[in-house]
């Protein structure tokens, strides 16, 4: 546990854009990480919204996976778009078909256009209520402009907020 915490602090202190331009996308939730191809929603599994991973949450608190700007909040509060200083366009979508709830069970803690730091609380959702209503809560974290980066994914399995979910290295003109 203490080792995990140490790692988290290590991440928090890191520059958003290291010298090689790579960016770390941290887990936004405590839970179990899976590859995006393993989620039940085919649109996400087929990477139509971008490549990435998903986290099956253990609780209902979602934190910023990068330093960046909240570009867009869906009115239904179940998804949000963030852009990092390095130009990573990240879409986080809590659960499957949660758009139909029209915001019920979700509380947003940030506003559109707000600058946030990695680890900052973005939104909360009532995990138990959503599960009891039968929602699949696997939460995709995908890069909508993933073709502009080389993505190095961490292994699937248990994750805590702040653990590395994947790393992105910008493609240069040479590769």
């Amino acid at each position: 546990m203490s080792e995990k915490k140490g790692f988290f602090m290590h991440l928090m202190g890191k520059q958003a854009v290291p010298s090689d331009g790579s960016e770390i996308i941290a887990a936004p939730l405590d839970g179990r990480a899976i590859d995006i191809t393993e989620v039940s929603d085919k649109v996400f599994a087929d990477k139509i919204l971008g490549d990435g991973m998903a986290v099956i949450p253990d609780n209902g608190r979602l934190y910023a996976p990068i330093d960046g700007t909240v570009e867009n909040l869906l009115e239904t509060k179940h998804a949000l778009c963030m852009v990092s200083a390095g130009g990573v366009e990240l879409l986080i979508h809590v659960g499957r078909d949660t758009v139909s709830l029209n915001g019920k069970h979700f509380t947003m803690h940030v506003e559109e256009g707000q600058k946030v730091k990695r680890g900052q609380l973005l939104l909360e959702f009532d995990r138990e209520a959503l599960l009891s209503e039968g929602f699949d809560l696997a939460t995709p974290v995908v890069v909508s402009n993933s073709s502009e980066f080389v993505m190095e994914k961490s292994a699937s399995g248990a994750v805590s907020c702040g653990d590395v979910l994947f790393r992105l290295v910008p493609k240069t003109a040479n590769n």
Binding site: V43, I48, L49, N72, E75, E89, H93, V99, S100, N145
Partner: protein, 85 residues
């Protein structure tokens, strides 16, 4: 240049999942394709640009394509809007 207008009927507007499918369709064409509403426009080939428009139910959008395959692009996209939004 080819174009069409469409009134959004989906109660959730142009939300993430179908917007992703829409962008995927648009990316198949070489033509420049733009989505506009109330004088604001965005590339229909970029998910974040499309979602950033915050298009809601009841709003009228215009899609304009310009390029070698503009006719086919507009046909496909108009059909896609009718089926999905």
């Amino acid at each position: 240049m080819k174009q069409f207008q469409y009134v959004i009927k989906d109660p959730n507007g142009l939300h993430a999942r179908p917007a992703g499918l829409l962008v995927q369709q648009a990316q198949k064409y070489e033509s420049r394709i733009e989505l506009s509403r109330d004088g604001k426009s965005a590339s229909l080939k970029r998910l974040f640009a499309v979602m950033g428009m915050n298009v809601k139910c009841g709003e009228t959008v215009e899609v304009v394509a310009e390029g070698p395959d503009e006719e086919a692009a507009i046909q496909t996209l108009e059909a896609f809007f009718r089926e999905n939004f």
